[in-house]
Symmetry: C2
Amino acid sequence: METVEYGKRAKAAMAQLIRMDTEEKNRVLLSCADALEADCREILSANEKDYRNAVGNNMTAGMLDRLLLNEKRIAEMADAVRKIASLPDPVGEILSEDKRPNGLLIRKVRVPLGVIGIIYEARPNVTSDAFALCFKAGNAVILRGGSDALLSNQAITDSLRSALSANGFPADAVLLLNSSSRESAQELMHLNGYLDCLIPRGSAGLIRTVVKESTVPVIETGSGNCHIYVDETADTDMAVSIIVNAKTQRTGVCNSCESLVVNRKIEKELLPKLEKAMKEHQVEVRADEEAREIIPVFKKAAEEDWGTEYLDLILSLKTVDSLEEAIEHINRYNTGHSETIVTKDRSHAEKFLHEIDAACVYVNASTRFTDGGEFGLGAEIGISTQKLHARGPMGLKELTSYKYEITGNGQVRP
Amino acid sequence: METVEYGKRAKAAMAQLIRMDTEEKNRVLLSCADALEADCREILSANEKDYRNAVGNNMTAGMLDRLLLNEKRIAEMADAVRKIASLPDPVGEILSEDKRPNGLLIRKVRVPLGVIGIIYEARPNVTSDAFALCFKAGNAVILRGGSDALLSNQAITDSLRSALSANGFPADAVLLLNSSSRESAQELMHLNGYLDCLIPRGSAGLIRTVVKESTVPVIETGSGNCHIYVDETADTDMAVSIIVNAKTQRTGVCNSCESLVVNRKIEKELLPKLEKAMKEHQVEVRADEEAREIIPVFKKAAEEDWGTEYLDLILSLKTVDSLEEAIEHINRYNTGHSETIVTKDRSHAEKFLHEIDAACVYVNASTRFTDGGEFGLGAEIGISTQKLHARGPMGLKELTSYKYEITGNGQVRP
């Protein structure tokens, strides 16, 4: 099937989906969750084939683990769908209402985005997660997963589509491109007139390509060169505890910390404690000259370290003379994701919160909290690092748009 | 100056602009308005040169009128800036606040978008309008106007920049590309890392190019293939009055009506009245066979008429058997701008409001009301026809984003 056909079918499905009420959507989602468990054997058998191919293709252990499904993981996927069914429905909310002097009643109403495209990599659970989030917000979704998980994704999508049909809803509410070729992704990025929004989920390289190539509206997600600034007034024990958590609680994720910015006035107190903690957690510190004068065993940082998202047990360290210099440095090198100040000074905290240009700006807390679940959104489709439409963790509301509904009694414009 | 330099300078200006409060912004805007009037002679002299060149280049009368400035028009530009100063400041609004179980206080705060690019054509008043709207919402703006108005735009920008500097604010809050070459526009469309958003204002061709070529986030504006559906229960006098207004009150604008969709059951009553009114207003009607059986003097419509935005005294007419067919037809051919139903049936009105996929959906009113001023936004930067970020008329709020400000006391993620 040509990619434009997917667009046509998804758009046709939207004409029906727009009529669904909350109760119907929830009923279908619960039924989809049951279907995933009932079809467990088929899904696992498809996943086994994907896994064998991936082993043959020398996939890394980390990637293999992301690809692997088992009964427990399928039950978790089904539970995630059930949880999404239990979340409040954002659609239909009246965002504002205004009676104009000419008698026109103007209502701004929250509506689905429409047809959403998701391009992702090797994790098959994204298939059911992304469908459930999009569907709950009233959208149709066209999925394009990685080639390594193609059979698993097909089995999961087949299960969801059967459940939709069995409930009298259009199966085309979820469509999976049957090819993982570069061409199919390219075609999806150019499906203007059918796709209302495209969200890439995966590596920095994938996201860069989608942002660069797409002619449909894109939400840029994920890449996080997150900083922690240790102010001159910081509690250094708190600072070390936050740094250890933000760097090591889970490396390889976008909200982990990649770079420290330290006020020169606190380096003598902070750096020895930091060195001990980083050694304990096997973190390599790449520091500037000022810091290496105090802790000579720190490696030497190069200019490119300030802009590098390591996703590894490496941390860069920049010395600054003031809060202003810290803000300037962070606004220059960050990716608009998550930034923390550790301070006891309220006015410094306020200035940092106000002037740092990022989706999530923290005072005295780990950057690792940037997450839809931690923010109380119930679930998330990704973390936006752009400023248009949505910023930070995106939940159901961020998968909606709005329209103006205007009621008159014959008004014409004078 | 290279285009990337504009990006760097605008981003540097943002670092200062982010500290402005409402009072400061308003003071600067009033001062900019005064400057435009004080610099009237310089602006008119530049405009005279542009105008002479345009006459030499055989510009059409309509375009020449858009390009022309005089004392009255400059006073209107200044008044528009004063009006924007008087509008409420959207920045700083707390959109939500949540204390999480772990003690983190999460605030969602409205912030400026950042650096906004505007690509526009021959109207020099857009220069001061766009600056004032962007500035009031806390943004820096990079303008790229049409070559025909280059000298006028430069004179206006010089005036604004002097007023900014005189008030101790960065002149780079407004920057005008000093070239109207294709290359300079292309470079602006690829200014990732500097430009947070790009808004094209002008012809369908310009907008198409920007949507297709840009790698920075774009808000698509403007193109409007707007429909009026006359339901079987319509008051036909009201229908004709709305059609006349939506088609003829001002042709050549995006919210004018281009296509009628008429329920077969009301054609015998409606079409004779329509024919009389359209003849009176010199509107050419291109109708399908069913309508031409009743009014044979209507021209014959071709398939491409359904998708054409005439921006002229031409109207297409499609006959349908039901509300459902009307909705399907409109959702297939519209551009997501403005659509009207004329009906006395409340359930038909509700269904139309709910199922039509467009920024503005009307019951018993002219499509011409889709306008920031008419919606009470005070002013507008354009009308979005996409669903991401903003839809319909965009005022000051639509020129903002948000950020999360999170305050803790040492929280780390377990």
